[in-house]
Symmetry: C2
Subunit: 238 residues, 2 copies
């Protein structure tokens, strides 16, 4: 499959405001802009592979990408799902290690690649930017600590409910009535997020549907009763 390039100036990018590049001075932003390569990917294509060495940073301009690890039996665990504005593959780049996870396109994506050298140059000469990166990385780490504790002590039902709420928050439409999860996840992918078997997810989703907590709209899920779902997630006591 041929790689399809596209181009858009960083200054004109719709997602600059959501990105860590927001607030960068014009000079630094243009350095990033002048060295980037933007590529369109189709669903199913891989961005990078576990075990390979990072050569730069990916910056999401459109679509969704899952970042996951495979275990020995080939079961996936999805670490996170990148959306427009997100950086991709920065962890291994910044720790100067090999990728520990694989990134695959979930929904047709537009992604800009910034070579390591250009990114590090801006990072080096711009302490405020570096500081923001550190802050973002440490925030992300806090989320992972949360996930660890959740995985260790919560039931699958609780985790599924919690993840549905999280997905609603993160990938819901803009504005108020954002109850539709704007992400066409297969049951298998959802299982890989929750850390369970596909059949278990299917069963629990049916239950949640019967209980009027969620509804299916095509491949997407709508959260009908966030409050009851939060109760299922054991986030609310009453």
């Amino acid at each position: 499959m041929a790689k399809v390039e596209f181009n858009i100036a960083c200054t004109l990018c719709d997602h600059l405001k959501d990105s860590l590049f927001n607030g960068l001075n014009p000079e630094d932003l243009s350095r990033i802009n002048n060295h980037k390569t933007c590529i369109q990917y189709k669903k199913g294509q891989n961005i990078f592979y576990e075990g390979t060495r990072p050569t730069g940073l990916y910056c999401m301009n459109g679509g969704k990408v899952k970042v996951y690890k495979n275990n020995v039996q080939g079961k996936e665990f999805i670490i996170y799902i990148a959306k427009p504005g997100d950086f991709l593959g920065y962890r291994a780049l910044l720790s100067e290690e090999f990728y520990q996870a694989t990134a695959t396109v979930l929904e047709d994506a537009k992604i800009c690649f910034i070579p390591k050298e250009s990114f590090f140059e801006v990072l080096q000469k711009n302490p405020a930017f570096m500081r923001r990166v550190v802050q973002a990385v440490c925030h992300e780490m806090g989320i992972m600590e949360e996930k660890l504790a959740e995985l260790a002590h919560k039931s699958v039902r609780e985790r599924l409910a919690a993840n549905l709420l999280m997905l609603k928050e993160t990938y819901g439409m803009e504005g108020e009535g954002s109850t539709l999860i704007e992400l066409a996840l297969s049951r298998e992918d959802l299982a890989s997020i929750v850390g369970t078997a596909t059949e278990t997810v299917i069963r629990l989703l049916s239950e949640f549907k019967s209980d009027g907590l969620i509804a299916f709209e095509g491949k997407k899920i709508r959260v009908l009763d966030a409050r009851k779902l939060a109760k299922q997630a054991d986030l609310i006591i009453a």
Copy 2:
């Protein structure tokens, strides 16, 4: 319980070589040194609490400290165990959030406190140091990703075996014959590391002992057959 202060110059600290402060220029190190407060803690004392705001960085000079989260039912999950040379509480400090975990002394500890301002000052004026901090944080994040996948897809038996091996590597004595885990963990704490019930840990440890994989020496555990343990952890196929 009165706080007992002690003092040791950073330049003379035995653990400087293991610390991120290693390689700091004399001026910056002395800035850290001049602003730090060093305190001795007894087993069971708390260093910081979940939900409070960080006011500085803790640097371990001696002893062991567990950092953990409590779930609704009061069950602990231990995120990591800090040893001499480690920073403590840096995540929340750098992300400018509240602590998301509590830190409690496992073995009598000597810990130096560096006020936020002094730490940030050195961080700000020393990009190379900042770079090393980013690298360390991102490395740590990789370990957490690993743990997440492990928790999602491995059995308790596998996780216990894997954690025993990890503890041996991390807290074993220096040098070759380092098979003793130099950390007097209760069964309950071990369960909080593995993410399971105390009884389950007790049962599995008995099995491992019967099978000649480990031995108990007082409160400590000796790894007798790391290879077989790795097989139990599903780290080796054969």
